[in-house]
């Protein structure tokens, strides 16, 4: 039985390819059941975030599983030329990869908090769809444990280097003091909520919340002390806010250049800042070309964060050490497991005095 990870991430693939390979929760719920069988795998987890899409597999026939998974990705990417953008890792390497991902070391924002919850969610979806076999179960539970340990034992997750705080810093580059500014949230996702929280900590003047589901908008508006709007209403009233946080699940841009031109006219040219954390993107790229309009999408924000984070190299070394130790331990357990030794992971500790 082999472990395999096949996928792409923010380093290997551009945003327009990644957005074609984003699988929503509901999509996963219908797609996952039986997918392990189709891909010649015994166990399977599909991890899909805005930065990565990865398939983790355990299989007795790794070459067939690999071939079928590649075909699966090609089909969803609607492209036959994605293979150079993919990585494939096996066994010990796959284990280490997952541990690095769960710890936030492989994230664009090194040390960011979201990814651990996303790994957990992907694993839960696999359990619910009954695509997690014993090996996948042990591996993912271990990865959650390692991810937590890296967070508590290193300073990797500390500091302000996050997408949300960079968005706030950029808003201050445009507007200066944010106390007299108004915000609109379009599409009330988790990331939008987080970014709004950061902005609200700067005591902005007002907040408008809009979502396809009006109830969810009301819920968030209550939480933030803001006002809820119906979605169409929000598009019409977009001259009101100075900062618009977009995170709708719309498959195409909902905010187009001609629309924003009209808004800017009504705003008498006052600056407008779009924080587009939706995947696929909500704001058409040409909107950024309009005068006094600034559009930063998730990639832009994360690039800036990555620059900021580059200074944390000491913590990264420490985190890498924990991950190395834990993945070696897991690999030893895996070898024993294959040899028929049925033992718990704790019987395969790394000799910490060895290094």
């Amino acid at each position: 039985m082999s472990l395999l990870v096949i996928g792409l991430n923010h380093r290997t693939a551009p945003v327009d390819l990644r957005e074609r390979l984003v699988f929503s929760h509901s999509h996963l719920d219908t797609m996952l059941p039986g997918l392990n069988g189709q891909l010649a795998a015994s166990g399977l987890v599909l991890l899909s975030t805005c930065n990565r899409t990865e398939v983790y597999l355990s299989s007795d026939n790794p070459s067939a599983a690999k071939e079928r998974t590649l075909q699966f990705i090609r089909t969803h990417a609607k492209s036959d030329t994605v293979e150079p953008l993919l990585y494939v890792q096996e066994d010990a390497e796959a284990v280490q990869h997952l541990f690095r991902v769960a710890s936030g070391l492989d994230s664009m924002v090194v040390g960011e908090q979201e990814i651990l919850a996303q790994v957990k969610q992907a694993y839960r979806a696999a359990v619910a769809a009954e695509t997690a076999d014993k090996l996948i179960n042990v591996l993912f539970q271990r990865s959650l444990y390692v991810g937590k340990r890296v967070r508590t034992e290193t300073g990797l997750a500390q500091g302000s280097a996050s997408v949300a705080s960079v968005a706030v810093a950029l808003a201050e580059r445009i507007f200066g003091d944010l106390r007299e500014r108004d915000i609109m949230i379009l599409g009330a996702g988790k990331m939008a909520e987080l970014t709004a929280k950061h902005l609200l900590s700067q005591k902005v003047r007002s907040i408008l919340v809009s979502n396809r589901t009006y109830e969810r908008a009301c819920e968030l508006a209550r939480q933030f002390g803001g006002r809820a709007l119906h979605f169409e209403e929000a598009l019409q009233q977009m001259e009101l806010p100075d900062i618009v946080i977009c995170s709708t699940a719309a498959p195409h841009p909902v905010i187009k250049p001609e629309h924003v031109k009209e808004i800017m006219h009504r705003r008498k040219g006052r600056s407008l800042f779009f924080i587009d954390i939706a995947m696929p993107r909500d704001v058409h790229p040409d909107v950024h070309r309009l005068d006094n309009v600034y559009v930063y999408n998730i990639d832009d924000l994360q690039t800036i964060v990555a620059e900021n984070v580059a200074r944390r190299s000491g913590e990264i070394t420490l985190a890498e050490a924990i991950i190395r130790e834990k993945s070696e331990e897991f690999t030893r357990w895996l070898a024993a497991h294959h040899a028929g030794v049925r033992r718990s992971l704790k019987h395969f500790p790394t000799d910490i005095n060895a290094s």
Binding site: I174, H265, K268
Partner: protein, 159 residues
Amino acid sequence: MENLLFNIARALHVPVLLISYAIFAAAFTVGILYLWQERKMKSKHLNELAYQLPSLDELDTLIFKLILVAVPLLTVGILLGGVWAHRAWGRFWGWDPKETWALITWLVYIAYLSVRFGVGWRGRKTAYLSLAGFAFVLFTYVGVNYFSPLHGFLSGASK
């Protein structure tokens, strides 16, 4: 009474204009900073300095306020020049190159204030307008001296 006005005009014509030029120079400098910062925000490559400058809105407002203060000074300075010319040369306005270019400079800054108030232009376009305005200031102050028979005494061209 007319004598008093003439004396005031003669005393204040140059200093009032020089103060307005200095403020236009400040607006020009802030305009350069604005355009640099705006380019950083559009290119999405911010460096350390970009984080230390005031925000775009603050820079844009500062340009506006500086010009808003300098334009009345420029207006008064030009009018005082007219009062002085009335006594010295026998006419209030005579389309001397210095006078003409001062008027053009004045019109550029009036255009700046109009589009800012009326049309609702802001940011990059108006920052360019403030740079253009200062180019006219420099030309009026220095360049024109070589063509002006009356104002040319500053550079000795009147001889």
